[in-house]
Amino acid sequence: MPHRNSIKTLLIVDDSRVSRMMIRTFVLAKYPQWIIIEAASGNEALEIVDRDTPNYCTMDINMPGIIGTDAAEQILAKYPGIRVAIFSSNIQQSHQTRAAALGARFVAKPVTENSVAQALEFFESNP
């Protein structure tokens, strides 16, 4: 675990406060020193990314306003270094294909220790 001790910034984008709380809890359980920022919509996420440039981002798809996959596309076009995990309960192939095309990791909701671990594994893997 080479990155275990380094401080990273994670942006959690989800319109559900409960989902954000769960992701935050599972991440902090493993990496207590990480800095967590939350956004409740894709538009808010775009602003935060410009301001804070996080290392990682978890992105819900179904949100009011700009949808998650579109927000991820804009973020990755501007900051290709950010690693994005797309969380969705909708496991239809079209969503998974789109995530893969963007270079993001698709993770099936609900938010559980296991699904968050999948996202973390992707964040910490070598590019």
Binding site: S16, R17, V18, S19, M21, M22, T25, N62, P64, S88, S89, N90, I91, Q92, Q93, S94, K109, P110
Partner: protein
Amino acid sequence: MNSLSELQLDALTEIFNIGAGRAASSLSEIVGDEVKLSVPCVQLYQSSEINADTLSLNSPRLGAVRQHFSGPFNADAMLLFTEERAMEIVHDMMASQVGIEDVAEYEQEAMCELGNIILNACLSSMADMLDLTLNSSLPVYFVGATDVVLRQIISETNQPLILVLHIDLSIEKRHLQGCLMFLLSSSSLQKLLAHIDRFISGI
């Protein structure tokens, strides 16, 4: 005390959105195309407040698929949609499957299955997130004039509280707005909320 806190509503909305996502995945396997299904909001009503306007179902006729479920709390779960639109969607789904159209008896059963997929997905998501087991009856489909259907639902189930979820379903080029309703007694609602509070405090 029959109002929900913001966090309780948020948790419920998330549970049902996950259910909707699962239902969309199952439906897309059937139609072989992308299906969009979302639950924009959850509201709690007294059954006396329920009418076509509160449900935003402005159509002369409604179709309804109903399942009774039991477990730590009991409720009648019901999916309501405008008959005409639902039929169009079912026709499309059927056409993509077997290339037939306009056969009444097919429709009834297909509507039952459509409702069954959506209701089961929501119930299973609830069971997963809240860590509980729910049992359910088989779905029943009925259709009729809007006010008749609504009156019948409210009088038959005799439950004072109704949790209403507005849903948007898009399959291929069709778009359908419907409603998912959970009819509960106040003690069942309290039990549901206790499970949700336990879930939230466990985060």
